[in-house]
Symmetry: C2
Subunit: 99 residues, 2 copies
Amino acid sequence: MTSGDRDGLAAALELVGQRWALLIVRSLLDGAKRYGDLQRELGAPTNILATRLRELHAAGILYRVPLAHNVLAYALTERGAALRETVDALARWGEAGQQ
Amino acid sequence: MTSGDRDGLAAALELVGQRWALLIVRSLLDGAKRYGDLQRELGAPTNILATRLRELHAAGILYRVPLAHNVLAYALTERGAALRETVDALARWGEAGQQ
DNA sequence: CCGCGCACTTGCTTTTTGCAAGTATCGAGC
DNA sequence: GCTCGATACTTGCAAAAAGCAAGTGCGCGG
C-alpha cells in the first residue's frame, strides 16, 4: 500500500496518551501487579483504572494473569515492555526540569 | 530538601501529556512554524491550539518569534528540543505496532 | 475604506475524568 | 449456614477538558 498507515506518533498517543496509561505501564515495568496494588500505588480513580486496564489489554499492551479464583495480576506483554524506552526518556526529561 | 521533588514521569506528563502537546512539539522539531501552519498541519481545534501554545510557552518548552506586526512564529527552546528522544521513542513504538 | 489573511477569542456541546457509593464472588471464622 | 472482610470491579452523577462554529481586532493592498 502506498498509504493507509497512520502516523506512528499519533497512533501511539491514541493508545498510551490517555491519562494514567503511561503511569500504569511504568508501574508494571518492574513486575506484575494486582488491581488493588496499582490502585494504591498510583492513586488513580478506580473506574479510570478499570477502563485503562481494559483498553491496554485490548491493545495488547498487557494481559491478565489469574492467581486464584478472584485474584488476578496484570503483566506487560512484549509490546508493553517495549514502552520502557519511551517511559525512561520521558522520565529523564521530567527529572531534568525540576531541579 | 529531603522531599518535595515530584516524580519525573508524572511531572513530564503534566506538561506534555495533554492532548496535542507532543504533536505540536514534534511539528516544531523540524523548525519554527506559525500559528496557521500548525493549525493546518495538525488539524487541531484553534482554541485548543492556542491554549496548548500558551501552556507550552509558560513551561519554557517553546517561545514566540515576532516576524512582523501581526505575524509571529513558534520555536522550541532547548528544553523543548530535548523532547526529541521521547518523541522518537514513542513514534518508533507506534510504528512498530501498526504493520 | 473594503475586503483579506493572520492570530487568536467566545459561546456552547460533547467527551473525558473524577468522586463516592454500590455490587458480585470467594474464603475464613463463629 | 451466615456474617465479615478482602478483591475486583461497576454505576450514578458532577466537574473539567476537548471540540466545533462563529466572531473579534489588526494591519496591509488595492
